[in-house]
């Protein structure tokens, strides 16, 4: 069984060429997509749906940097820390709470646009910092660096959640 990187003819590495990934993805779908089997037997149609779904899943996994990192760590056999671990990191928890407060206050701000922009700027810069660390740690690829990477990854997921919350808030504020 090929891993997702091999499936797309890529080196198993965190830094990938997204254009190459996208090209390989389309090339593979040209052979496996159910539309190519619309006139084939039911058996082949079923098989095409399966293969095509796997290729889609592989593509989504590699396209998204956090999912890609998680997948690499899984391939390297790194055990992901449980959700519980997050509650032991007090400094990080505090920071998250502050950010949440900042998001909650946007609604009451005089200038909502400016408040949203500020929240986004803070979130983006902290995300970027962590992300750079993640890249470095994954490139080092030692048992210790992988363990650290998985810890950073868990933090990045928190930031991703916050970003989604800001998106949702923005939609609410500007809808109806």
């Amino acid at each position: 069984m090929l891993n997702y990187f091999e499936l797309f003819g890529l080196k198993t590495d965190f830094s990938i060429d997204l254009a190459q990934l996208s090209n390989a993805f389309q090339q593979l779908q040209k052979t496996a997509h159910p539309d190519k089997f619309a006139h084939a037997s039911s058996q082949e149609q079923l098989l095409a749906v399966q293969k095509s779904a796997t290729i889609n899943d592989a593509y989504q996994t590699l396209k998204n940097p956090l999912k890609r990192a998680e997948y690499i760590l899984k391939l390297r056999g790194t055990v992901m820390p449980s959700e519980q671990a997050s509650f032991q990191d007090n400094a990080f928890l505090m920071q998250q709470m502050e950010l949440r407060e900042m998001i909650a206050e946007v609604q009451a701000a005089n200038d909502i646009d400016a408040a949203l922009l500020e929240v986004r700027t803070v979130l983006d810069s902290e995300y970027q910092q962590l992300f750079t660390q993640l890249q470095q740690l994954l490139n080092d690829d030692t048992e210790q660096s992988n363990q650290q990477a998985s810890d950073i990854l868990r933090k990045l997921k928190f930031y991703q959640k916050l970003q989604l919350e800001v998106d949702r808030l923005e939609e609410q504020l500007f809808d109806d």
Binding site: G9, Q26, K30, D35, S41, Q43, E44, L47, S52
Partner: protein
């Protein structure tokens, strides 16, 4: 370098027969059918030369009228004349009543399965849609002089699972084979993509009679990859009409409730005003008042623009969200395509142009572009273009999830995931000895169950009794290339496949469709049998063709013994297909399938590997 193709021994050298296929735009207000004739996609007309079939069905004493013939009855016989049935598909009664409080129909049936009482009995929206499909297919078969192999039917990209399923059910009732349900904006992109031949990012803004879609696609060497889609499946030009009706009522000092005939008359006038205002600054209409009086009202363009402004703004918000989902900035959009009759409204055009900062493409008739794109895809899917480079990679428009504790929704497949897709999630029991589990499937973006759309409820039975938390129930969501969902479940440790009872929240259950099909046939039993027999014969033919060509190209993957066994099973199947019963043919096909299962998988894996090696060589 071109290589001569040499036919392997045993491989058919006969060129592929041309199969008749068509694309159908099943619209809220209007429907069309198109096909590819001598390489050119074109819409098919009726005997009067009209290509647009109004999506109106009228149930009269002696006959069921469809299209222009039915439209005449919309005002005089509103209760028996169904217009815009698409807006009712896969909807609950309270949904409908809340959104369209002034419909003239007499609704019957329960909350989640509303039907309409007509003089010819009770009909549901699926049956109404089936009548429109039948009329279109009949037109095509007459015009093309043969039976259609299959059709591609377009649906709004933002249609949810219940609405898609209802559309497919309508086709089943109409007796047509659906090659694919295709999203309307994607179909439009195909029609334009072939025209311009330009690679890049396309935004398709599709405002029809009853639905709004926005799709962001990337076109690359024939592959149309949908990056994100969004919209509103209950927002369209009809809503512009309804706002105008309210305005007319206000201006004429009429008060609701009004009779159905007055409502329909006002609606007709509103539609006329809207159309006139696309090319005039103002328009005057004469309204017949209930007391045999008349009054004249003038509406100018700025008044109309003021009425619809907030609706247009709503569509632009959806555009913004989709661009964000696609991770594409406005500057990166290379083309904007306008689809749907409602994009003729000048305010819509100017606002879209302002938003994207680019003049939208309108060169293909916005009423026909979807049907034309669907026809191109139907031609490919029917197998008429084996060397075609075109591939459409679409997404699901709304997240799919299940209900968890506390009335919350856990998303299993997020919106804008490329289809087909399969995702599994594990759950466990929370009581000792629990043997059954209820799974509630939902679609939507919100966190609370009540804010999402209920698709179905599944009851898993036969979970082996264990202590709480010990059972691992793996629930798999599969979305096929039509965007339709299938759910299955299995207890992992014991591999017990839990039995599932599906109760769709909206639309029709499988057995209801079968019953309706039977009811619609004069000699129900014989006709059903004949139909099933034909379906199995067609399947046998497909199996024969694909296995034969597989043996011819990749036979060397098999041992001589395996080849012999397969050939023997094929011969039996061909014989059985000629004289056997439905069950016998099914069994013969199953035998071939069993013998070729590994072979089919080997072939597909090797072609996937080859695809990339070929690609890499080309790149280097």
């Amino acid at each position: 370098m071109a290589l001569l193709q040499i036919a392997e021994p045993g491989q058919s050298t006969v060129p592929h027969e041309h199969r008749l296929a068509a694309g159908i735009d099943l619209g809220t207000t209007n429907s069309l059918i198109a096909t590819v004739k001598s390489g050119l996609a074109q819409t098919l007309t009726d005997e009067q030369g009209r290509d647009i079939l109004p999506s109106v069905v009228s149930y009269q004493e002696s006959s069921i009228l469809v299209g222009d013939n039915a439209k005449g009855y919309a005002v005089s016989d509103p209760q028996n004349t169904i217009v815009s049935a698409k807006r009712l598909l896969g909807r609950s009664l309270s949904d409908i009543k809340q959104k369209y409080p002034n419909l003239p129909y007499q609704f019957v049936g329960d909350e989640n399965h509303p039907s309409i009482q007509t003089r010819r009995g009770v009909v549901n929206p699926v049956q109404v849609s089936a009548e429109i499909l039948k009329a279109l297919v009949e037109r095509a078969e007459k015009s093309l002089g043969g039976e259609l192999t299959g059709v591609v039917i377009t649906v709004p990209a933002y249609f949810d699972d219940a609405q898609r399923q209802s559309t497919k059910d309508a086709a089943k009732l109409a007796g047509v084979e659906v090659l694919r349900l295709l999203n309307e904006p994607t179909a439009a992109a195909v029609a334009y993509g072939l025209d311009s031949g330009n690679d890049g990012v396309i935004a398709v803004y599709d405002l029809g009679g009853g639905t709004f879609d926005i799709s962001i696609l990337r076109l690359n060497k024939g592959v149309f990859e949908v990056l994100a889609t969004g919209g509103d499946s209950a927002l369209g030009g009809d809503d512009f009409d309804l706002l105008l009706v309210d305005y007319l009522i206000e201006q004429t000092a009429l008060t609701r409730p009004l009779t159905n005939n007055v409502e329909r008359q006002l609606l007709k006038q509103a539609c006329f005003i809207k159309e006139q205002l696309t090319s005039h600054e103002q328009v005057s209409v004469t309204i017949d008042l209930p007391d045999n009086k008349q009054t004249q009202i003038t509406v100018n363009k700025s008044t109309f623009d003021g009425l619809i402004k907030s609706l247009v703004a709503k569509t632009l918000r959806a555009c913004r969200r989709s661009l964000k989902d696609a991770n594409i900035s406005i500057e990166e959009v290379n083309e904007v395509v306008m689809v749907g009759g409602s994009t003729r409204v000048p305010l819509v055009r100017s606002e879209v142009e302002k938003f994207f900062n680019r003049k939208p493409l309108t060169s293909i008739d916005p009423d026909k572009v979807v049907a034309i794109g669907a026809a191109i895809q139907a031609d490919i899917l029917a197998g008429n273009k084996p060397d075609s480079d075109i591939l459409l990679l679409d997404v699901i428009p709304l997240s799919l999830g299940i209900e968890t504790m506390g009335g919350l929704v856990e998303k299993i497949i997020p919106r804008n995931t490329t289809i087909p897709v399969a995702k599994a999630q594990e759950f466990t029991t929370f009581k000792d000895g629990q043997t059954a589990m209820m799974i509630h499937v939902l679609q939507g973006e919100r966190e609370l169950v009540d804010d999402c759309r209920s698709l179905a409820r599944f009851e898993l039975r036969g979970i082996p009794p264990m202590v709480a938390g010990a059972a691992h129930i793996r629930v798999t969501f599969k979305v096929d290339a039509d965007g339709l969902l299938q759910v299955s479940a299995m207890e992992k440790s014991t591999k017990v496949e839990a039995s599932i009872e599906v109760k769709p929240s909206f639309g029709l259950a499988e057995d209801e469709i079968t019953q309706m099909l039977k009811d619609s046939m004069a000699n129900a039993k014989e006709d059903m049998q004949a139909r099933m027999l034909k379906e199995q014969q067609v399947e046998a033919k497909r199996v024969l063709e694909s296995v034969q060509s597989a043996l011819a190209t990749d036979g060397d993957l098999l041992s001589a013994q395996e080849q012999e066994a397969i050939t023997k099973a094929l011969t039996t199947m061909v014989q059985v297909a000629q004289q056997g019963t439905v069950a016998e043919i099914e069994a013969a096909i199953a035998e071939v399938d069993k013998l070729t299962a590994r072979f089919a998988e080997l072939r597909m894996d090797s072609s996937i590997r080859d695809a990339l090696t070929g690609h890499n060589v080309e790149e280097i």
